[in-house]
């Protein structure tokens, strides 16, 4: 029982991190109908920027305070992501208005190649560390309830809390602020939003910046767990089944989908994996998503797809 719970918690926390990346996909898809394959590259780019800024800023400005450096690096990386959002909107999206979904998808793949190359040219391609002071020691919980208790990695717990906080912040931003309402309006109907005076271009820059912010937080957490390196761009492939499982258009879907995939992956790896020879994590998520889609083609929480002739 203790072992099962441990796996379950491990899965939930991994799932929270998947949700963070999935969130980036959903935000952009909702607001601009672009399936953004570059989200993984954005995570890598943001994490690289932050890791290197934290190294460079103290040298450039001659101060020696770790937390100041981390804070400034975060702000710097955020500015970089806003710039990226602006450039992408200017140079790519505004030129591809009204193109088919697949063309836009391939364009974001092109962007992702570009950003992977550019990020590593600019910031270097070694493995970097982001030290945001996450404790590494594990803790025991429930040791009163049954023998041995449940071992939880404190780092994972904090990561999950940060992710949850980000989700709350984003929900408030979407529900309560004027910009958030404008974003939702654009997501509902481009033309109608435009006709009541919402500037589409600015909204797209904002939404890509918000996705950049989500990428930055995801990159920061993954980076402090695993180190900032090229493989970070691959986490996007792990977040894809989360997105379609939860539904492309649903923010809560991304969260719950992430949790389901995280738990499913860990449990399957532990309980089914040994039977099949291990390493089944990566396809299990996709097959799980595929099975859910067979029942609900729009994902668990996506808007119902209505076909009209």
């Amino acid at each position: 029982m203790g072992f099962f719970l441990e796996t379950l918690f491990g899965g939930l926390m991994a799932g929270m991190l998947y949700s963070l990346i999935a969130l980036g996909f959903v935000l952009i898809y909702k607001a601009s109908g672009v399936f953004n394959f570059a989200q993984g590259a954005m995570v890598l780019f943001a994490a690289l920027a932050m890791a290197r800024f934290a190294e460079w800023f103290p040298k450039w400005f001659g101060f020696d305070n770790h937390w100041l450096a981390i804070g400034l690096a975060f702000a710097g990386a955020m500015l970089v992501m806003i710039a990226v959002a602006y450039i992408i909107e200017r140079l790519v999206l505004s030129k591809l208005v009204n193109q088919e979904g697949i063309t836009l998808l391939m364009a974001t793949l092109g962007i992702s190649y570009f950003m992977e190359g550019f990020g590593q040219t600019l910031f270097g391609s070694d493995i970097y560390k982001i030290d945001i002071g996450m404790p590494k020691d594990p803790i025991f919980v429930f040791d009163k309830v049954f023998e041995g208790g449940v071992l939880i990695n404190k780092e994972d717990l904090y990561a999950a809390l940060i992710a949850a906080a980000l989700v709350v912040v984003l929900s408030i931003f979407f529900q309560k602020t004027a910009t958030g309402r404008a974003l939702r309006a654009v997501a509902d109907d481009h033309q109608a939003a435009q006709s009541i005076g919402i500037p589409l271009n600015r909204i797209w820059v904002i939404v890509w910046s918000v996705a950049g912010f989500a990428a930055l937080v995801a990159g920061m957490i993954w980076g402090s767990k695993l180190g900032v390196q090229f493989s970070l761009a691959q986490v996007a492939l792990k977040a894809l089944p989360v997105v379609i499982l939860g539904g492309l258009t649903s923010v809560p879907g991304a969260i719950i989908g992430g949790l389901i995939i995280g738990v499913g992956e860990k449990l399957s790896e532990v309980y089914i994996g040994p039977m099949l020879g291990g390493g089944i994590e990566i396809w299990f998520a996709y097959v799980l998503a595929l099975l859910v889609l067979l029942v609900r083609p729009q994902g668990l929480f996506g808007e119902k797809i209505i076909d009209r002739v």
Binding site: L105, M106, P241, L290
Partner: protein, 354 residues
């Protein structure tokens, strides 16, 4: 002036419905094929056969197969690498396990394996559509990556996980030198291109296109979506599977599952989109573009004598590749095939303004 169809009268339906109704087109294509078969083997260097021509031919075949699915039937697939892998490993198993199995039969049977799996993974397309389907096809990709790595039976219990074939021959003729390999692939590509061209302009091809343009409307006018979609998946995965077999047997010789990773799927999708969706010629243009571009980018710094270290060079290649793809999509979202068609229209009037 030179390129016009004045005076070419068609007096029967048969004449009107041939593949190349315009005489000049037919001549150009025949000349091109003759050139590829007869002249290229004497002109090109060994390096260009190995690094450019054979990969180009095999990848255009795979792109052709993918184009049937994505371009003609409108079902986006990110799992092409998987079907290439199934073709390759299927052919390998037939080739190694059945004594005296002829090479061509093994390749076609490998394609048959890919067909079966393709139809299996095509079944969800009846319910799942668009981008959801695209991501769902990644399930096929990751599952086969895993299966060929972990299930030892597929690799004939090879200890390293990589498999190899040797002593390829067709009817007693060895397929050893780069020129022989090139001609072998060329023959396959020509036959499959002809087959695909005939399929897409026939009854079934029109059904695929109707499904692509609007599947509900197609169903209303009496096209069975089940039949149309699954045949598209079957034909596409067969061609892709044969291409996978060729890639493994003829181009690589010895390979492991990483040769058919998700990057290969993306690469093929790039070819199809840059070349032109729903165009047979487009598959070839796209393959040429994607095969040549990295080679050119690699060669450029050395050509201009700019010293550049390899890591930076590979990052720059990535950057330029990505930027060029975005540039191409912006300039001509319908692909090189559209540029080609526009050029031909212009040529018909040239040199007169109207």
């Amino acid at each position: 002036m030179i390129y016009r169809e004045n005076g070419q009268f068609k007096t029967s339906y048969r004449a009107d419905q041939q593949i190349f109704p315009i005489l000049q087109d037919k001549l150009v294509i025949l000349a091109l094929v003759a050139f590829a078969f007869l002249a290229v083997p004497f002109l090109a260097s060994e390096y260009s056969f190995r690094a450019i021509l054979t990969p180009f031919l095999i990848l255009s075949l795979a792109a052709l197969g993918l184009n049937v699915l994505v371009g003609y039937c409108g079902q986006i697939s990110l799992g092409t690498g998987a079907f290439m892998a199934i073709g390759a490993y299927g052919a390998y198993n037939f080739f190694v396990r059945v004594p005296g199995m002829p090479l061509i039969a093994a390749l076609l049977l490998g394609g048959g394996c890919a067909t079966v799996v393709g139809v299996l993974f095509g079944i969800p397309s009846l319910r799942i559509k668009g981008l959801y389907l695209a991501v769902a096809t990644l399930a096929a990709q990751f599952f086969t990556d895993w299966a060929f790595l972990r299930i030892k039976w597929f690799t004939n219990d090879s200890s390293s996980g990589s498999v190899s074939v040797a002593g390829l021959n067709v009817l007693g003729m060895p397929i050893e030198t780069p020129v022989q390999k090139y001609l072998f692939c060329l023959a396959f590509v020509c036959i499959f291109a002809l087959l695909a061209k005939n399929l897409v302009r026939g009854n079934i091809g029109r059904e695929w296109m109707a499904i692509r343009d609007m599947d509900v409307a197609a169903a209303v006018i009496g096209i069975r979506p089940v039949y149309a979609k699954l045949t598209a998946f079957a034909v596409s995965s067969f061609i892709v599977g044969v291409a996978g077999g060729l890639w493994a047997f003829v181009h690589l010789g010895s390979w492991e599952p990483a040769a058919f990773s998700v990057d290969r799927s993306f690469q093929l999708l790039f070819m199809v989109i840059i070349g032109g969706l729903g165009s047979i010629a487009g598959s070839f243009f796209g393959a040429a573009f994607i095969v040549l571009l990295p080679i050119l980018l690699d060669a450029l710094p050395a050509y201009f004598g700019i010293p550049i270290d390899t890591a930076l060079a590979s990052h720059l290649t990535f950057m330029i590749f990505g930027a060029l793809i975005v540039f191409f999509l912006i300039v001509e979202p319908h692909g090189i095939a559209r540029l080609w068609a526009t050029g031909r229209e212009k040529l018909r009037l040239w040199p007169f303004p109207h």
